[in-house]
């Protein structure tokens, strides 16, 4: 029994069958990569996990609890965090404030009216945010306004926010897209380090095979809304079905 169990999930957009009977099981503590050509339904599937989309049929169980019908904040509070394909951060706030919001969410839950406390005087939150900023290597920029960051730094900031919540499951949607080779390697190291030290389960969508094979313990290949292969990384490379999916996807 995995920490995330997806069974028979279907999703249609008008005439397009975006997800076709998806079954997926993610083992606790593993790094599970989902790969596939464009339009294979990877991001759609992720959207079904975090409450952005509601599948037409099927079930998504996390830690024995159904995620379907829950609001995004409830899913997050249950322990699922997500890094988006385009960085979703609080662009008008400082880096510190960005991470502190996540720290507050972890400590105080979905809603707590604390209108008279001082953000800056809350040592516990400060330290926690500070630690997570250092983890991703952004501690020196903590007072910058987030919109001034480079794209790679924004993604790291988003990662810091997700990590600050101590999630059980971290969903990463193309975490290295648009990064330079050096940044990509840094990010891989970072994800590896954090994976080892905190034991967070990760689901990664990625096009960059270098990243996938550096990180993943397990790989699912999707094509046209369906997982076609699930296997260990070393077995994926030679699998004819995968090659066909990528080549076939190109002229489909």
């Amino acid at each position: 029994m995995g920490i995330l169990e997806v069974q028979n999930v279907n999703k249609r957009f008008g005439g397009l069958q975006a997800l076709n009977n998806v079954n997926l099981s993610v083992r606790e503590g593993s790094v599970h990569a989902i790969i596939g050509p464009n339009g294979a339904g990877k991001s759609t599937l992720l959207n079904c996990f975090v409450g952005r989309l509601m599948p037409d049929t099927g079930s998504v169980m996390f830690n024995g609890q159904s995620l379907l019908g829950l609001k995004p904040h409830q899913i997050n509070q249950a322990g699922v965090s997500r890094v988006f394909q385009t960085p979703e951060i609080f662009a008008d706030l400082s880096l510190w404030e960005n991470v502190m919001i996540a720290s507050f969410a972890r400590r105080d839950g979905a809603y707590r009216l604390n209108a008279f406390g001082r953000v800056k005087a809350d040592g516990e939150i400060r330290d926690h945010a500070e630690r997570n900023l250092s983890d991703v290597g952004l501690a020196s920029k903590r007072n910058m306004i987030a919109s001034a960051l480079s794209r790679g730094d924004k993604r790291r900031l988003e990662l810091a926010m997700c990590l600050a919540q101590d999630p059980k499951l971290l969903l990463l949607d193309e975490p290295t897209a648009g990064m330079s080779r050096a940044d990509t390697n840094n990010t891989i190291d970072l994800l590896k380090r954090i994976g080892e030290s905190r034991g967070i389960t990760k689901v990664v969508i990625e096009h960059d095979m270098h990243v996938v094979f550096s990180l993943a313990d397990r790989i699912t290949v999707m094509a046209q809304g369906t997982p076609i292969v699930e296997d260990a990384p070393e077995n994926i490379k030679g699998n004819p079905k995968v090659q066909e999916a990528y080549l076939g996807g190109a002229h489909a």
Binding site: H73, Q74, F90, A91, I101, R112, G117
Partner: protein, 387 residues
């Protein structure tokens, strides 16, 4: 140096308190040192500070906040009529009732965001206004406005003889000490100081909200509501809390309006009145601490001083000019004052939005930056969020 001061809450509070309490003296040279206008500065300052908690922090643009102002006023006058001429119960009841209305209206309106939210709040407020003006006349006394009568029951006071006037601790709101200071006529009015103390408290609460985790969440709502949801925060109760708090601020302002002048008219709920507080906030500086107070003062000053300048007064100002030139100048300037004060106000909105989208506060910041540049070297001119 200035940067430091601006981020020191104690310094801000001290400066603000001093400015407000010395208002009658500071504003006297500008012809604005008389009780009624001072009271209005304080009351609309409170209104705008409260509105800023919603609009400035969360970015939700309500076009119906005047409704809460009106509800607060009606409640306060009813308290004067039924309970007591003391302002304390009047204000408490005004805040509670407008908070209740804000809870209901906010709960419904916050189901939508953006311009839909604006139209929803506008629709609710216009309904309140239209009904108060006509059908609800038994409660609101319609066009004439709800008044205090000497024959009202007032169960806590008993029947007092003479004109019933709102008071606190035995001091009547209209009591004024008048004296002269450096040759200027200064007036210290009970009503103003009562409003001023409440303004200072309201400002302090707003300051604490700005600095609090709650305020941080509100700012996060404005910046990226979706991210906040995916970060495990339920944004709607946060927004609703902000809405109710700002509704209560509006009710407080409405209650104070009734305290300084015990008459509540329906027109203070009209959409133009809601628009006015939006203008005050933007004019002063959205999302800044002091901006809304400045904006409120600015607009009320225009309304009350510019509309009173007539050709006669203008001629007086321009006594030094030769006769023919004076007539010409009076004719030109006359278009912008007196009955033309609306024109000036409209032009002002445009100029400020076009050239100073951050409002007056941005203007001051630019001036400060300009002065400190030669000495301070590469002082960051980047926008300091929320002051």
């Amino acid at each position: 140096m200035l940067e430091k001061l601006r981020n020191n809450d104690t310094a801000i509070m001290l400066a603000f308190t001093a400015m407000v309490l010395l208002g009658p003296i500071i504003l006297a040279p500008f012809g604005a040192g008389y009780p009624d206008l001072l009271q209005r500065f304080a009351i609309f300052g409170i209104f705008a500070v409260g509105f800023n908690i919603l609009f400035g922090l969360t970015g939700y643009l309500s076009f119906g906040h005047a409704a809460f102002l009106g509800i607060g006023s009606y409640m306060a006058v009813w308290s004067f009529k039924l309970l007591s001429m003391s302002v304390i119960p009047a204000i408490i009841l005004a805040v509670l009732l407008s908070g209740l209305f804000a809870l209901v209206i906010g709960y419904v309106s916050l189901r939508r965001s953006g311009i839909y939210f604006s139209i929803l709040t506008l629709a609710f407020a216009q309904m309140c206004y239209n009904l108060a003006y006509s059908v609800l006349t038994p409660i609101t006394n319609g066009e004439t406005g709800l008044k205090v009568l000497s024959s009202d029951p007032r169960i806590l006071d008993g029947a007092s003889e003479g004109l019933p006037l709102p008071s606190v601790l035995g001091l009547r709101m209209i009591d004024t000490w008048r004296g002269s200071f450096l040759g200027m006529d200064v007036q210290f009015n009970v009503g103003f100081y009562f409003c001023a103390v409440i303004l200072i408290i309201a400002f302090y609460i707003s300051l604490r909200i700005f600095r609090s985790p709650f305020g941080l969440m509100l700012r996060a709502i404005r910046t990226n509501q979706a991210r906040l949801n995916y970060t495990g925060i339920n944004t709607r109760p946060y927004a609703l809390t902000a809405f109710v708090i700002s509704g209560m601020y509006a009710g407080l302002a409405g209650g104070l309006m009734a305290c300084t002048d015990p008459l509540a008219g329906a027109e203070r709920m009209q959409w133009t009145a809601s628009g006015e507080v939006v203008l005050m906030t933007i004019l002063g500086g959205v999302g800044t601490l002091i901006g809304p107070v400045l904006g409120a003062g600015f607009i009320k000053y225009f309304e009350n001083i510019f509309s009173k300048i007539n050709d006669n007064v203008l001629s007086g100002f321009l006594d030094f000019l030769p006769e023919t030139l004076r007539e010409g100048v009076v004719w030109v300037m006359g278009a912008f004052v007196g009955e033309g004060w609306h024109l000036t106000l409209g032009l002002l909105f445009m100029i400020i939005v076009i050239f100073l989208p951050g409002g007056l506060v941005e203007g001051f910041n630019r001036i400060i930056a300009w002065f400190s540049r030669p000495k301070g070297g590469d002082k960051a001119t980047a926008r300091v969020p929320a002051e």
